[in-house]
Subunit: 129 residues, 2 copies
């Protein structure tokens, strides 16, 4: 499909994907997609990423329930980065139980945690595996 | 410096960097940094990226004048992605003369340009090189 071919996938067949909350504008996650993940995202109308660590498709929220509904899909000028505007189920995107994965801020030579845990990850996931 | 060592730079010594407008929340750019670029960003209080195509530090706005003032610097849970909240000079981040590099939206199997050109790139850059 030509819209998929327009994307400049990297040498591993991946592209970085930014997930942004469509309502608050909060930056939630940076993840990765391959062609299959992007097709699944469009078909299923929810964020489906490629997990580089597990080397498989990762339907965001498949374990936690915190799925990301697709609201809008964009690419950048170089066609090598993807932006998803999403509706974040439960308002929690991070596996640490926080709204956003970007919960640490640079301050005087350190990364300071600024955002609260909304829900204990132990209560989100059945196991720590 | 330990805050730099905490970042999981990829095998090429890079990390993806998202630039977001601090005032409007608009996603502007996805670019890349190495250690040197991140240090320069903090030291100079403006976005300094690593240009993968030109293989050199790229002080965003060095030719166009559309520099990105650093307002806040964040990293994600995995410490392999960086977020900059920036003040975008002139309200133009994209080399096409648009506010954001993400000016194309997926619609029915095509990427549709939705955002206007604010300033003709020919008028922004002295040359096309």
């Amino acid at each position: 499909m030509s819209w998929l071919d327009e994307i400049k996938w990297d040498e591993q067949g991946l592209a970085p994907v930014i997930a942004q909350a469509h309502d608050t504008g909060r930056l939630l996650t940076l993840a990765w997609m391959n062609r299959e993940a992007l097709v699944a995202t469009v078909d299923e109308n929810r964020a489906v990423y490629w997990s580089r660590s597990r080397r498989r498709l990762w339907r965001k929220g498949e374990k936690s329930g915190y799925i990301q509904h697709l609201v809008e899909l964009r690419i950048d000028c170089d066609a090598d980065a993807i932006l998803l505007l999403v509706g974040q189920n439960g308002g929690i995107a991070c596996h640490t139980g926080r709204e956003s994965c970007f919960y640490r801020k640079y301050e005087d030579g350190t990364w300071k945690t600024t955002d609260p845990v909304i829900k204990d990850p132990m209560a989100i996931y059945d196991s720590l595996s």
